[in-house]
Symmetry: none
Subunit: 245 residues, 2 copies
Amino acid sequence: MARSPTAFSPLTVPLSRTAQLVEHLGSEIRAGRYKPTERLPTEQELMARFDVSRTVVREAVASLKAEGLVVTRQGSGAFVAQNPTGKPFRIVSDDLKSIAEVLNVLQLRLAVEVEAAGLAAIERDDHGLEEIGLCLDRIDAAVRAGDAAIEADYEFHLSIARATGNPYFERFMRFLGTVLIPRQTVRAGIENPRVRRDYLDQVQAEHRAIHAAIVASDPDAARQTTRAHLEAGRVRYLAIARETA
Amino acid sequence: MARSPTAFSPLTVPLSRTAQLVEHLGSEIRAGRYKPTERLPTEQELMARFDVSRTVVREAVASLKAEGLVVTRQGSGAFVAQNPTGKPFRIVSDDLKSIAEVLNVLQLRLAVEVEAAGLAAIERDDHGLEEIGLCLDRIDAAVRAGDAAIEADYEFHLSIARATGNPYFERFMRFLGTVLIPRQTVRAGIENPRVRRDYLDQVQAEHRAIHAAIVASDPDAARQTTRAHLEAGRVRYLAIARETA
DNA sequence: TTTGCCATGTTATCAGACAAGATACATTTT
DNA sequence: AAAATGTATCTTGTCTGATAACATGGCAAA
């Protein structure tokens, strides 16, 4: 970046004051000059030190919050997050152009869901079972209405993740959903209504097997049926994806 | 959750208005209701639509900019970025202050690693096996040197994830590592050298069982030994964490 | 048609104010 | 003396109004 303060170049638009402050504070934090859990200067101090308005300070801090570098507590101050280097787990949508990449992500999803089903079979309570059952009914209703039931299907899997009592399972499933759901719409495109109905009936039969295992508090069966369901799902995805390609 | 929009509960105001607006706009964008390069409503419109001040609107947009979801052009407006990034999966380190939260994350790790070991037993090749074996040796060497072998242990688990041939497993393991490794250092603090050596020998015996199952191309055994290893690890973490607390 | 100007809309920044939560200290009570 | 309580003060959250910088489209002049 050719942006020296002394040379004036008519083309380079200077970064906004907010962006400058974000860059400055961000690098200070990453360099460790502000240590984790340490309190940042107050807004007033930052205003004075950088000669900017409070708007700029607040927007800069808002950006750093969005980056996960700082957390703020009303009335107390802004603090450096405990793990400022913690990079998020991210799957770029562009990487999922190839069928192989989607299959890889589906494999990761299988890992998490198999375990989630097993945990759900152990940790299940009445409320969780009721929710899972409701999701099954909703899928039935959607299929009867001629819908592809993609959303209801997703909710079913989420309800199992929720039944584990471990919030990270549902969060991870939701994360994967944002990347996978768009690809799954292929199944809605099955033209032949007869074939499509058979497809959905088969899927729903597998769902019921998982549900039964969880109701029976049988973690091994829950894992096994979930594995079978998702492996069959991978095969189905592969068949449809190749067909439509 | 008992948080209905109509009833206002004096206790629950968990999210700031800014955070709410960020979530709302972010999900709208990610859901595709605002398409890439499309212009967002003006600040005035957003103020009116959500009945908030301009401060809130601007901080929310600043957050979305930091996330890479929108770009702004002065005098022109705010626009959805060309390739809106998928919402990443992130574990805030601050959430891991409680032992229960760490155990939850360890459970998620177990899910992924169990499946990774099973896959490694299927997809394994000579190179992968050699790497896993080398990691075992490095742990041995580290333990003999009196080290806690945390890094070598981590590498061993990564080598299994790598042997799956599915890059997402290693990526996810590395992601979890950045969150969990800092907590795992407790084990380095075991004072009694005798106890510590027993601890590490036990861990290494479990590693060898996993290795043997992968060498034998036995996915069921690989999953079972990995599950046993990580469940034991959860118990060990619990014991140490309670002790040092 | 092309060029230049300008009115209008929009974001960027500033300034001041009040509300709400947090913290430390003095006060009161036990 | 110790603990509970009240209060002053600091800090972030939100609101309001104003000015500057930039972008865009229309209009008039060449």
